[in-house]
Symmetry: C2
Amino acid sequence: MKPIYEVAARAGIDEEHLELYGKYKAKLNPSLTEEHKDRPDGKLVLVTAVNPTPAGEGKTLTTIGLAQALNALGTKTVAALREPSLGPCFGMKGGATGGGRAQIVPAEDINLHFTGDLHAISSAHNLLAAMIDNHVYHGNALRLDPKRIVWKRAVDMNDRGLRSIVTGLGAGNGLPQESGFLITSASEVMAVLCLSENAADLKERLKRIVVGYTTEGEAVTAGDLHAAEGMAILLKDAVKPNLVQTLDGTPVIVHGGPFANIAHGCSSVIGTKTALKLGDVVVTEAGFGAELGAEKFFDIKCRQAGLQPDAAVLVVTAKALKYNGGVPVKELGEENPEALKAGLGNMRRHLRNLRRFGVPVLAAVNRFAADPESELRLILDACAELGVPAELSDVWAEGAAGGEALARALLRALEQPSAYKPLYGLTPSLKDKIGTIVTELYGGSGVDYSPAASKALADFERRGFGGLPVCMAKTPYSFSDQASLLGAPEGFAVSVSRVSLSAGAGFVVVETGNTMTMPGLPKAPAAQRMTLEEDGTIEGLL
Amino acid sequence: MKPIYEVAARAGIDEEHLELYGKYKAKLNPSLTEEHKDRPDGKLVLVTAVNPTPAGEGKTLTTIGLAQALNALGTKTVAALREPSLGPCFGMKGGATGGGRAQIVPAEDINLHFTGDLHAISSAHNLLAAMIDNHVYHGNALRLDPKRIVWKRAVDMNDRGLRSIVTGLGAGNGLPQESGFLITSASEVMAVLCLSENAADLKERLKRIVVGYTTEGEAVTAGDLHAAEGMAILLKDAVKPNLVQTLDGTPVIVHGGPFANIAHGCSSVIGTKTALKLGDVVVTEAGFGAELGAEKFFDIKCRQAGLQPDAAVLVVTAKALKYNGGVPVKELGEENPEALKAGLGNMRRHLRNLRRFGVPVLAAVNRFAADPESELRLILDACAELGVPAELSDVWAEGAAGGEALARALLRALEQPSAYKPLYGLTPSLKDKIGTIVTELYGGSGVDYSPAASKALADFERRGFGGLPVCMAKTPYSFSDQASLLGAPEGFAVSVSRVSLSAGAGFVVVETGNTMTMPGLPKAPAAQRMTLEEDGTIEGLL
């Protein structure tokens, strides 16, 4: 690892703009944005993927490796990634910092507390929760209806016991009410931080957060409770983007980590815009598969922030396509070109979808060591049939060198003009927007609404929120809302069970099925297998 | 403010041992301890106070100012303080960083997230909670009795609604059970961190934490759940002491902030021992009044850690003594020598008590601008009668200069030999130890135990924990367990309602009355009056 000020210098960042967190992490002060405000922006490239599968697609890995490869080719490139959440690190999976020779470092620090952003977000979230409860306890001047408080609490831990709780039991202990905890990534405060332009915008968004309704049905906001300033104070450092590096010293901004279901699943706008001033190319990613993450990247993040994306890269693997072609997880290691062909429809639909956003599209075939050449050939041929440039990517094993072909293809794609446009306009009704996504992008036949969802959508329109974009919460495993419908399903209707308002983030969350906002730990959590050695070495975290 | 590496250099700390957190905060790496291990220790001075009152005594202020004054006199001095908790900052009071010209800086950062230690402690605490619930959910191989789980969850926020909750409601959401949240300072993990000698000791103590009992009545520990390694990983940076500075550049170690009731209320052993290698004198403090904080400092912290304290300074104010003499809070500004005389008994008992620990004792009369000279004279005279050196301290208004007389008196006291000894030995029974504290120190007539407390004490003895020291949880406002018994009450019995085991920290908590482990917010919390200005300035936090 190089000292972070050297990485910063390579990215043209003067030391005065750095706030060091140890030798290898730094926050970037707003003074940097001020200094760079007249610089032209670099090109913005989104890395997305086919529907996720248990085999893993390597989206973060490819994003990191592609940035490394571009730099190795002499194109000044910065990656912009999401911050990992503590909960999953101690639960099922390892870190979220890439792997092999395409990693960001210091990986352990990034996966643990990093620079404290998620803790600050939890604190701001929970300050608001405490102030709501306290307001009702001390006289309830705003006439908040205790049964219509929608703000829960947040913790960055996988703890299923906190999903559904009753608080305020016992004399003098506040308000007895049904409540629960979200994992911090699912907090609207996280989405707000990720979509804010700067600290002032952050505060205005915090003020707009709707925490509940009065007995007369009027919305009550964090601003009404005078909570937004305190929350903004808790977030004053968290709002600054974090700089780290890849194994080969490529600068990487890691900032913000919103859930890709209840939120928009993209790294922060501030981080992305900072990166665009630093790099000629910025490679970023969005959560889950392209029908969720990329759609929200284009329709929410880019639109709100006025970003002009220049290309999209779809990560695909042989295993993922075989899985989509019906092969069980345990048999994915076996050669099975017929199944792969059957699964190609998933990739084709994602590629066609991405083109609808007006950007040049290419495919990155993330290679695993044991992948049969014949299967990889089938994928490349399918892309060629669609006229989509496709390259093998071997960045896990080879780092920058393994991504060189992909990087060259991307640079060619970036010579084409981009005509980015969102999938839907903001003027149509919320139901029209949802309908467009389901029929045009998912390939579904229509949308069924629960009576509660229909009523709430009408209510949001009446309150003046009809012009917001929608944020779909759906199983990531299928184009549909049913995890088992793999490949490229057709003729399905999507069922909307529940909708909720994120007025601070600026979208309406549309839940299909039961959206999980607090994961649980598996039977043998990763935490049980970790060790901290005497010399400080950590085993089992990554 | 000087860059922290300059402050470090002044304290003889090479830059290689620093882990920077911005320009003005740093963590000290264990390599420093290694380098300094053969250095002689400095002298250790405890600053404590009469019973706290609503008027404020200025214990932290005096600790800071005294360290400044000693340095100004040419005695190399380091202060060792506790870390503030976020909860109270947003609730009732301002920060915990001193005031006037005796402050530690950067005060706002220290009062907010600082270097993330409290967040790390919350995370480690909550990882254990999640692993307990998860263990029971996934088959409960250890046969943990769901009704005898004693480990709650923790959050660093004043949130009364979380004191008493029911978790795990709804299908698939874990185990329905009564539970609650502590504020993080009340977590045993905080006490463990503060009493640990190093990272290896920390891990061993974490393993010993008792989380509940099996259906057969056997204790189940964090070690049994294989949770200690993951917790230690989350605490790997939190265990390193933090270096900051006073307004005049005196080095200050701020590390650990355990509650002074359910825990021992002293800054960390690691921080104190580090300071002792850096300064010829180390000034530290303990929570609440001397009968609680100082007692635990001597009987728990110094004994466990093998520290040899060299002197104790009792902070006293005219207002506090008038309050103890029966004057209502609103009339404390008025001259009232008779009331002050009536309250002197409180100071006298604390001074006599402190002498029992074998250390030289002196009094610091913390002066407020409007204090009548005649009242201050009465205090100084009363000290003289006891043969206790006493000096006025004016460090709020004058910084180091205002503490010069006190510092000179302390240096004279430090020329005397110290014959530190704890109040009680560890061999007697737990009840004998409690009895000694109540009768010898509090001035009470005896102890009444609830049947549950008696049963639990017998149980702890049977399990082999009879040799632990006791950690008294009691109202801080009186020598007794009744807040209204001011001054120097006599003839009272202390009622022990509940006892609990902190096997990781290494003490038995003895609760008299209802120990508050989660504060609430006041009607108009400080958070409502705070503002974050465009230029980053924070109003209303300090």
